[in-house]
């Protein structure tokens, strides 16, 4: 086939393709009615779509309340799941109920403070946090005690009386001045001591 014949056929096909098609108006309406009555196609589900393309709607007030509730739950759950050092807690606080690591030894601390309302133990084993190891007062005495597991080695500690007064243990060796104007004591924990 030569080029001029090929162009002629192409032109014919193009003309035919461009020619308007006469359709029955009633038939077109019937088709469109059927299309509109079909449900929308199901979208592919994903986590992203679930969060950002919700298929329900709430009033702004209800949405805000719900959001505040979720944040509250998150904060409370976070506070329970983490201790003050940001480490997870899931164990009881005191020695007697704790499962000890193999190398730890249960050590008892005793402090006499008859006038105190509250005494806690701070040291290098609890990040010097007075809220972590409160001591228990023996009934009808000024004796405050606590037991806790400590790893073998040398430990610095002090007692915090009523939340503000730091005292060294009078029955243990003193540590040198910590540089902060407070006295600490030293407890050496040997395996099996």
């Amino acid at each position: 086939m030569i080029d001029s014949e090929q162009h002629t056929y192409i032109d014919m096909i193009a003309r035919e393709a461009r020619r308007p098609v006469a359709t029955d108006r009633a038939a077109r309406e019937r088709i469109m009615t059927l299309v509109r009555s079909e449900p929308a196609p199901h979208r592919r589900s994903s986590v992203w779509a679930a969060i950002f393309q919700p298929r329900f709607s709430l009033s702004p007030a209800v949405s805000t309340l719900l959001a505040a509730g979720l944040v509250g739950i998150g904060v409370i759950a976070g506070a329970f799941a983490m201790n003050r050092d940001g480490h997870q807690v899931g164990q009881p606080r005191f020695a007697a109920a704790q499962r000890l690591p193999v190398s730890d030894t249960v050590v008892k601390f005793v402090f006499v403070a008859p006038q105190a309302e509250h005494v806690s133990l701070v040291g290098d084993f609890n990040g010097w946090d007075a809220s972590k190891t409160p001591m228990v007062r023996s009934e009808h005495s000024g004796l405050w005690t606590v037991t806790l597991p400590l790893p073998e080695g040398r430990h610095l500690y002090a007692f915090v009386v009523d939340g503000n007064s730091w005292s060294a243990d009078p029955n243990a060796p003193f540590a040198p001045d910590d540089g902060f104007g407070h006295a600490n004591s030293v407890r050496i924990v040997n395996r099996g001591s």
Binding site: L58, S63, A67, V71, V75, G86, D129, P173, P176, G179
Partner: protein, 210 residues
């Protein structure tokens, strides 16, 4: 934006905040956040340096936490941590490859006022013998007012004679009692050191609890 999207915006924001809440709580409770960023950086740098130098970096962290708990000025905490770093390094250099606990105890002795040369007597020891109790009593005696030279001499002599933990503890208990009754600290040590029996390491009993 569609009306439905606007309505659910707080809900989406809440869900994202909820997911972020747990780590945020953990971050807020890090005690080091209470420090000025520059001081915090200085302390963390020293802790890293100590770790890299094979020094017990937990001693520096503990010291910083103690300062934070006592609400001490950040600059003062940095100075004290820096001093402790130097003491730990000196103790490690003097004693050689001993345990981290012994390095910390030796640093306390230096902090109390002993000289590095006085620590050198503890460089060699029988296998398994620990100088933790000796260092602890040594530091305590100086802290209670016993002159550094006298305390160093007495503790070194006992150590060389093979004294065990019980002997060091017994000496401390006696001297502490005498001092609390008003005796001069130096005299109390001199009196008690004369009557302190020295046992060989083979005959040592169970060490007392400090």
């Amino acid at each position: 934006m569609k009306r439905s999207s606007l309505r659910s915006l707080p809900l989406r924001a809440g869900a994202l905040l909820c997911l972020a809440a747990v780590p945020a709580v953990a971050q807020e409770t890090d005690p080091f956040n209470k420090l000025d960023p520059n001081n915090r950086f200085s302390i963390e740098l020293m802790i890293d340096s100590a770790r890299n130098a094979g020094l017990p970096s937990d001693a520096l962290r503990s010291l910083a936490l103690e300062g934070i708990a006592l609400k001490i000025d950040g600059k003062r905490i940095v100075d004290r941590v820096r001093r402790e770093f130097t003491l730990l390094r000196t103790a490690r250099t003097t004693l050689g490859p001993v345990s981290d606990e012994e390095v910390k105890a030796a640093a306390a002795v230096l902090n109390a006022g002993a000289k590095p040369a006085q620590l050198a007597a503890f460089k060699t020891r029988e296998q398994g013998r620990s100088d933790l109790q000796a260092f602890t009593i040594w530091a305590d005696l100086i802290t209670r007012g016993v002159p550094s030279e006298e305390a160093s001499s007495a503790i070194s002599k006992l150590w060389e004679d093979g004294a065990d933990d019980a002997i060091f503890y017994g000496l401390w208990k006696s001297v502490q009692t005498d001092i609390s009754q008003g005796l001069n600290p130096g005299a109390a040590l001199q009196n008690r050191i004369r009557e302190t029996p020295v046992r060989t390491p083979q005959s040592k009993g169970a060490p007392p609890e400090g």
